[in-house]
């Protein structure tokens, strides 16, 4: 298409040979990018000068957070633990459930294109549904508190890990899969023995990243009464109690760091 509008350039070598050079798409892409950026800048009122002039205001709240109020830890750790539990359960179940979804959405494993498309769209829809909405609905179904948060996290995990997983599965080397089939395995068995070992490290790493993300995400879930540390964040934001907020964030940072450290340890073992 593009090549028809911009016919390839001819390059003639001194020896008389002729090479056709396809027109680069880079200028067109750059042009489109520039147009898109200019349009968005207009649309959003983005103003880099204002940003630099007033950037000091950005740090006011950070300044208020330091030093964090250490004594607040005694009132936040329960909520933190609850948040961790919520995320752990939601992420683990979600990650496990995402596997069948991802398999059904992989064009190279499932031969029926309709099934594949349907599952891809399901995963996409799941990701679009705002977690706030799912969490709120969950509070009505499962009552108030962490169960609802778990469900919301679980749904999000399925959609996020599921999507990354099916992308990995579709990029996998299908040779071993073929070999397994030639041995007489079913497609599901062949998946288990030929594809799973290849995607396992990636799967674990996305799941752990998602778990860590969920710990932070659980912070927002407090907003709809799904429990956890989110309630405390909202409360302290409401009261402009930024030193307490600083303590919460510090506690979260330490937690996330520990999770990352542990997950890195196991990921290295696995690869």
């Amino acid at each position: 298409m593009y090549d028809k509008i911009f016919p390839p350039k001819q390059v003639v070598l001194p020896s008389g040979k002729v090479v056709l050079e396809k027109r680069s798409r880079t200028p067109l892409i750059l042009l489109l990018m520039v147009i898109a950026i200019v349009w968005s800048v207009n649309m959003t009122g983005f103003d880099i000068k204002l940003l630099f002039r007033r950037i000091d205001q950005f740090f006011v709240i950070i300044g208020d957070m330091i030093p964090p109020k250490w004594s607040y830890f005694s009132s936040l750790w329960r909520a933190l633990v609850a948040t961790l539990q919520m995320s752990l359960v939601g992420s683990m179940i979600g990650a496990l459930l995402s596997v069948p979804f991802a398999v059904m959405a992989s064009a190279n494993i499932i031969r029926n294109q309709v099934v594949v498309t349907v599952f891809k769209v399901i995963l996409s829809l799941l990701r679009t549904l705002p977690t706030l909405v799912t969490a709120l609905i969950a509070t009505f179904v499962f009552g108030l508190g962490p169960t609802a948060g778990v469900v919301a996290i679980l749904l999000f995990t399925i959609s996020y890990v599921g999507k990354l997983l099916y992308e990995q599965i579709e990029n996998v080397d299908m040779g071993p899969f073929e070999a397994m089939e030639s041995i007489g395995m079913t497609r599901i068995q062949a998946f288990r023995y030929a594809v799973l070992p290849q995607v396992l490290p990636g799967f674990l790493s996305t799941s752990l990243f998602c778990f860590e993300g969920n710990v932070r995400y659980a912070a927002i879930l407090g907003y709809v009464g799904a429990g956890g540390i989110g309630l405390l964040i909202n409360e302290n934001l409401g009261w402009r109690d930024y030193s307490n907020l600083g303590m919460i964030i510090l506690a979260l940072v330490v937690t996330v760091y520990l999770i990352e450290w542990v997950s890195e340890h196991f990921r290295k073992k696995l690869i």
């Binding site: 959003t44 205001q57 407090g222 309630l231 909202n234 409401g238």
Partner: protein, 339 residues
């Protein structure tokens, strides 16, 4: 997009002021930023605020100010507008009294909204139950109350029966119920109910054993209807707002007035304010007065009424900082209880 933030432009008498007959030289203002926080459930989700821009421009022009551009933003949290006012990144904020009191280091209150008064205004809960349903009156009020509302659950009925029977509720009665309240910075959903508990039982909302926070009054009422909560706290006309939903969406057989009862009434809460930023060079006393006049005038036009009704405002009254001393005390009290 705005190329310049208004706060950086001090008002200057314009050289080429349009010579409007009897007016003194008009003052130019590049941009005026107005931020809204609907403190109650907004009438419509579409921010039908566009007409306000022109109304405000027109009114300010008659006060001798030429505003090039009015931009309006709608946030959903009070803190966002509060911070913006203190930082001077917005000029005018429609915020609840509680938020004003919390951010008064950077915000000045200029107006209080007035709204239709209600047919009940007693601070005795039984009166509200005897005179059901509550209706709007033609009178304007600049304050409202918060109610403790007991729902159709067994516990809720039990509490209501006690109140209607003229008995005093005990702390044990309240403590045995499931509560749905709003976040801590909400006046009607947290602060004033806490004050009430403090006055009557020397306790706070957080002392209750079974209490959950809702993201919105809608959720509170839904939980009340579902029996997940026995008691909720809400602004006085909330039941009017949720009357249709009660039977339609929350699936109750009878009307909200039949199934819910008031078991406590808080003192008056000042209505929403219009506050302006202190850290904003254009906010001279003259300009504040001009704004006060402009908003009051807008609220009297047909078109203006329509716009502000989106936020359940019906008119504006000039306000002083001292009007909110009660609010400040309440907040002090709650903060000291938290510690």
């Amino acid at each position: 997009g705005s190329k310049n933030n208004s706060s950086e432009n001090s008002p200057s008498p314009s050289a080429s002021a349009p010579s409007e007959s009897a007016q003194p030289a008009a003052i130019d203002i590049k941009e005026l930023k107005v931020s809204f926080v609907p403190s109650k459930d907004p009438e419509t989700i579409i921010t039908a605020t566009d007409p306000l821009k022109d109304l405000l421009k027109a009114q300010l022009a008659t006060e001798g100010y030429n505003v090039d551009k009015v931009s309006i933003d709608v946030g959903t949290t009070y803190e966002a507008v509060g911070e913006a006012l203190t930082a001077g990144s917005t000029d005018i904020g429609f915020i609840p009294g509680g938020t004003y009191a919390l951010y008064d280091d950077g915000a000045d209150v200029i107006l209080t909204a007035t709204r239709a008064g209600l047919s009940n205004d007693s601070d005795n809960a039984k009166d509200w139950n005897d005179n059901k349903p509550t209706a709007a009156t033609a009178e304007q009020a600049n304050y409202y109350r918060s109610l403790f509302i007991a729902g159709p659950s067994k516990k809720g009925q039990e509490l209501a029966a006690k109140v209607n029977g003229g008995e005093q509720l005990t702390w044990e009665d309240l403590n045995s119920a499931n509560w749905a309240i709003m976040s801590t910075s909400s006046s009607a959903g947290y602060i004033y109910p806490t004050l009430w508990l403090q006055k009557n039982f020397n306790k706070s909302l957080t002392d209750l054993s079974h209490v959950v926070t809702s993201d919105s009054y809608g959720t509170s009422f839904a939980r009340l209807a579902a029996g997940q909560a026995d008691v909720i706290v809400a602004y006085a006309d909330a039941r009017r707002d949720f009357e249709p939903k009660w039977t339609a969406d929350f699936g109750r057989g009878q009307s909200i007035w039949d199934e819910t009862n008031v078991i406590g009434v808080t003192q008056g809460i000042y209505n929403d304010t219009i506050s302006v930023s202190k850290n904003d060079k254009i906010m001279t006393d003259e300009f504040k007065t001009a704004l006060q006049n402009a908003f009051i005038a807008i609220a009297q036009t047909e078109e203006g009424k329509k716009v502000i009704s989106v936020y359940s405002h019906e008119g504006y009254k000039v306000a002083q900082s001292s009007d909110y001393d009660g609010e400040r005390q309440a907040q002090e009290l709650i903060k000291s209880m938290k510690k």
